[in-house]
């Protein structure tokens, strides 16, 4: 594979201090390599540190130890403003709760990331945003605020917003978590399409194996440890495992047990 490394996580750990002065390890030595155009899924139960990992990937959070580098450049040594600009230029987020700006129209929401760009991108932001909304099939809802949109439409606006600056990395945190199955599938199809059109790397965090199945590479996050999984195994776990309880015994990651297809948070 001639994929170029985009984000590289090496020995990343994250601890937080709890109110009772004990330390909680959220991530324990995570190594991950996301290449340009890659499509990675990370499956894990709630509380397994998925969101923390995503925040570190998106350079919103810094690891306790270990290093994060973006295009070979260590992120830890960048100043906050540079980091913010780097994130704005290269990373697009899709959140479970959409996180659209309330009261602002779909167009304003999609144009928002471009307002942090400079030069041409800044001045043409409304036109570019309108094109993006058209791409996600919402050209008729340009003026609607999120309150007037359905869940699926809101997530499509969020996808348009994540992609409007043509990021190289899209981070989706439970993108279908608040949607029903069919809408979720449609939204994921759209996200996949747009991401591959833009040749952006897509990292999807989910507890839903069907969503995870769309990715090229699959990981499981368990107790702060990230390990690769075989997809068929994961499928068996959810589809058959609950029925037949057949131990697969292929990889060392299967004994964790309970299928977690229920919504968490």
């Amino acid at each position: 594979m001639e994929l170029v490394t985009l984000v590289l996580l090496e020995g990343v750990t994250k601890q937080v201090l709890l109110p009772d002065d004990s330390r909680l390890d959220i991530l324990r030595g995570v190594d991950l390599d996301v290449a340009a155009g890659d499509h990675v899924s990370i499956v894990g139960r709630s509380g397994s540190g998925k969101s923390t990992l995503l925040n570190i990937l998106g350079m919103l959070d810094a690891p306790s130890t270990g290093s994060v580098s973006f295009r070979g450049e260590p992120v830890g040594r960048m100043g906050p403003a540079k980091l913010d600009r780097l994130r704005g230029r290269n990373v697009g987020f899709v959140f479970q709760q959409f996180n659209l700006l309330s009261g602002r129209s779909a167009l304003e929401n999609v144009a928002m990331p471009l307002s942090y760009a400079s030069g041409r991108a800044y001045w043409t932001r409304n036109r570019v945003a309108a094109e993006m909304l058209e791409r996600v099939g919402l050209s008729h809802r340009i003026e609607s605020p999120p309150e007037q949109l359905s869940g699926g439409e809101q997530q499509r606006v969020a996808i348009a917003r994540a992609l409007v600056r043509r990021p190289t990395l899209i981070l989706a945190d439970e993108p279908t978590g608040a949607l029903d199955v069919e809408t979720g599938a449609a939204v994921m199809t759209l996200l996949d399409e747009i991401a591959s059109e833009a040749d952006a790397a897509l990292v999807t965090i989910t507890h839903d194996v069907h969503v995870a199945a769309r990715a090229r590479r699959h990981y499981r996050l368990e107790g702060g440890i990230l390990s690769p999984v075989q997809l068929e195994l994961a499928f068996r776990e959810t589809a058959l495992g609950s029925v037949s309880a057949t131990p697969a015994g292929m990889a060392g990651t299967d004994d964790s047990g309970a299928p977690d297809t229920d919504a968490d948070t």
Partner: protein, 401 residues
Amino acid sequence: MSGFIGALTDAWSELRHHKLRVLLSLIGIAVSVAALSAVVALGEYQRQIQAEQSDRFGGRLATVAVSASPTDGAPMDWIAFDQRVDRVSERFAFSHRTRVVDGLSAQVQTPQQVQQVPVRLIDPAHPVIHRSPLLEGRWFRDGDEELLAAPVVITESMWDVFGRPVVGTFTITLQGELQGTYPVIGVTPRQYVGDEEKLVTMLFDGYAAQVDSFPPDAYVLWEMWVPEDRVAEIGPILAMDLRAGLEGVDLSVSRTDWGSRPDAQSAALVFELVTGAIAGLVLLLGGLGLVNIQLVAMRQRIREIGVRRSFGATGGRIFTSVLLESVVATAVAGIVGIMLAIAIMRAPFVLQMFQGLQDVPPFPLRAAVIGLVAAVAIGALAGFIPAVVAVRAKVIDALRF
């Protein structure tokens, strides 16, 4: 560049989004800015009215008066001294210069009787220097001295004696040295209620054409209108030139305008400072209300700020946007306040308070600038704390709740 414009655009769209909240918090600011600007403007009106009143007596800014009296009590040769003043003045090229002769009188034939009235002689520049208002008709102008019948201007009280005939078609008849008929071209209003002064004003040259010398109790004064910034330098030179080779005459050169009397100015300043301080306090209270509202609003907006940060908004950008939100809001309130102040100052009841104001001064730019600066300053002050809170918010925590 696009960063700042972007922050400004953000601020504006935030304001539009929270219209009602912003509107309510800004009423206080607008009112206090209006009060502040109105106070400054009132002070300016007050000063103008004082200046105009003072100008009637002492001349406008800056009037230099030259007076002379013989040291030995002998009669003064006014004509010779006038020529001396003329000669010396030439090098200064004064734009407005007038002689004022008091102490003359004439017999006037009124409908009832022949009456002794004082006569004053002036040059056409005199009403300009003194802003002397007219009730009717016009003042003297250059060329009037060449008319066969020298025109005169009389006081309102004297006009009443004649039964207020139409100015322009009406003449008065003098007896004695000044015997003749004089057309009345203008009437000066009463200076105060019950002003019964009867005075005939005529041109110096009109008088001189008829009479060669002044009576012993005549008294002549010369007045020059000098640029304010040069008066300090011109005064001493003028005095020195006039005194050169002069003997037996006591000469005095002095400023008579209100600018030479700082007490009037300081009174206006005190008025402005006291009322301005009160308006300032009101403004500060309005600002505190704004801080309060913005801080509460910030709590609700933490998540939104987190979203913006995750899409590349730098801390500086968030800070500027939130700060500008208050600044833009108070600047708009300030403009509204200034317009309110202008409307108040143009209201009939205010103008009535300043009756007799000859030149109603335009709404002073200074008042508008002070009002706007105060509004922007209070906005920056009120926006600072919420802006710090907005920047301090951690992105991840903001996105979590």
